[in-house]
């Protein structure tokens, strides 16, 4: 169909092709796009179930993982996803590269682009780092693998995929997100993604670990930027009441040292998700955690490893969802980009 007239001049990608070039957050995903990721992840799970887990889809594509924060599961998950799709993967970590010699993020990104990287999968402790890269890279796509407190879109998509696999839907599902909401990029991305597909979200945590504008409620100036399906609650039992899904967030112990919490003991007593508290949720409610867990702090071992826990399945689904994302983000080849 090469002679057919293109319907519009492409804006971002240099060729046509309805490609999303960067994955920065879920806030610009339409419900249809989220659904497309979910469906494609189903197809990818089929590939993961094959005896020979390899398809030629991304042959010749170079994917660089650039991690300025330590991470096992996210980096490995992206690497595995890329390799199953036959991409070449190069891992760069901040402590063993010119980053440690003081090279700026932007210069590192430009260097990697110049070496021919099709995608940079980046994790950075500073919110917005992927936006800085994306706005200066002409050829490489940027995939946000977690930036500061801001976003972790692939995690949110795998969480949503996991929920969808078990409940068959996302619309109307009641999700409680519990813990250190203030510092959580997972909470933020899930909030945008889940709200976009019509789920009901309750954010719950100690008042000092909730953003003040949310704590003061939607009536204050703040709330207006959030969908009205988002509620904020400091009482765990009320947050869990009738929940279909309980998403537990990691509590960094430094928060207590920084004066945000009186004691870990008090945190555990009031906000730990344990079997007793879980009774408030719907029978069989799904329990999720982005990992790594502090068992005995934000989640009790009995819940973490109990029958309602999907924590291991989240990891498997993470590979399928990231395969779907890499596939859908596939950028045009270099010759085309130059055209």
């Amino acid at each position: 169909m090469s002679t057919l007239q293109p319907v519009a001049e492409p804006k971002v990608t240099q060729t046509g092709g309805q490609c999303r070039r960067h994955l920065l957050d879920l806030d610009d995903f339409s419900p249809q796009e989220i659904e497309a990721v979910m469906e494609t992840a189903d197809g990818m799970r089929e590939v993961l179930g094959r005896e020979i887990k390899k398809v030629p889809t991304l042959r010749g594509k170079v994917i660089v993982t650039l991690f300025y924060e330590s991470s096992t599961r996210t980096r490995v998950s992206f690497e595995q996803a890329a390799k199953i799709l036959s991409a070449d993967v190069i891992n760069v970590s901040a402590d063993s590269s010119s980053v440690s010699k003081g090279e700026s993020l932007l210069n590192t990104a430009l260097t990697l682009q110049a070496t021919g990287a099709d995608f940079l999968v980046v994790r950075h402790p500073h919110s917005g780092a992927p936006y800085l890269m994306a706005s200066h890279l002409e050829r490489s796509g940027v995939i946000n693998a977690g930036d500061g407190w801001h976003a972790h879109p692939s995690q949110a998509l795998l969480d949503m995929y996991t929920i969808r696999r078990h409940l068959g839907r996302l619309a109307g599902v009641k999700v409680a997100i519990v813990g250190d909401v203030l510092h959580s990029r997972v909470a933020r991305s899930n909030l945008w993604g889940l709200a976009r597909v019509g789920a009901h979200i309750t954010l719950c945590g100690p008042p000092t670990l909730l953003p003040l504008d949310l704590l003061r409620g939607a009536g204050a100036e703040g709330g207006a930027y959030l969908p009205d399906t988002v509620a904020v609650e400091t009482d765990l039992d009320r947050a869990l009441d009738g929940a279909d899904v309980v998403m537990v967030l990691r509590l960094q112990k430094e928060r207590q040292q920084a004066g945000l919490l009186p004691s870990l003991r008090e945190y555990c007593r009031l906000w730990q998700v344990n079997p007793k508290r879980l009774e408030r949720a719907k029978p069989g409610a799904l329990v999720m955690h982005p990992g790594p867990m502090n068992e005995g702090i934000e989640i009790s071992p009995a819940v973490a490893h109990g029958s309602q826990s999907l924590i291991e399945e989240q990891v498997t689904n993470g590979v399928a969802v990231r395969m779907a994302l890499l596939y859908m983000l596939a950028v045009p080849g270099r010759e085309e980009a130059q055209r």
Partner: protein, 220 residues
């Protein structure tokens, strides 16, 4: 399956990522090669024509294979799948044996990734092991041959069939690879500026084959 959008038709086959919100920053709108102004649409086959063509093709397959032993129809997503089911149904009635149908998604094997929207990937499903089976690949329209190349690669990843044959409801010519169909419902000579669409009850709510002519071709 077409949607009118801003006065133009955008072809939307199953699984195409639909239009995203245009104000979003890091998306490019619309597609290249996926849509065009449709100047003319001509119906080439109706429901009865399709039914008769499939009946003849079923007979040809049975005749060529001398029965339905070890036969597997594998439909290429999307419209090859209902066609494969209809053919399998015909053959089962003719021969009195159950003929399995596989579903093959070729998205991961395509050679045009990144040139257009990536279609949704669906699970590839085979109810039986295809090792040493006689596989008849079923697709709606045979055009450049590139989809069939991808389908054969995908198929080989799933096993080692004894024989692979190709069945297409429509052959519109313009092959770009050394591929030909073993069974053809209807040969339709076309210009490159035209497009053949097969619409099926199961997917589109109607059984028909139409020829679309783009506006550029008309004005040119």
């Amino acid at each position: 399956m077409q949607e009118a959008r801003n006065g133009r038709y955008v072809r939307s086959y199953n699984g195409l990522w639909l239009q995203f919100e245009a104000d979003s920053c890091n998306l490019s709108p619309a597609t290249k090669g996926e849509g065009f102004f449709v100047a003319d649409e001509k119906r080439l086959m109706g429901p009865d024509d399709i039914r008769r063509a499939l009946a003849r093709l079923s007979h040809e397959v049975v005749e060529r294979h001398r029965g339905a032993q070890d036969l597997v129809f594998v439909g290429v997503h999307t419209r090859g799948v209902p066609l494969a089911h209809r053919l399998a149904g015909n053959v089962s009635r003719l021969e009195g044996v159950h003929v399995p149908v596989g579903v093959l998604d070729i998205s991961l094997y395509r050679d045009d990734l990144g040139r257009r929207a990536s279609p949704v990937v669906h699970p590839t499903q085979f109810p039986v092991d295809i090792d040493d089976k006689c596989v008849v690949l079923v697709d709606d329209v045979l055009f450049t041959g590139r989809s069939i190349r991808a389908a054969m690669d995908a198929l080989m990843d799933m096993g080692r069939p004894r024989l692979v044959q190709l069945l297409a409801l429509v052959d519109r010519g313009h092959r770009e690879l050394p591929i030909r169909a073993d069974y053809v419902g209807k040969n339709i000579p076309t210009a490159m500026s035209e497009e053949v669409q097969v619409r099926l009850q199961e997917v589109d709510g109607v059984d028909e084959v139409v020829l679309l002519t783009s506006a550029t071709a008309v004005t040119a």
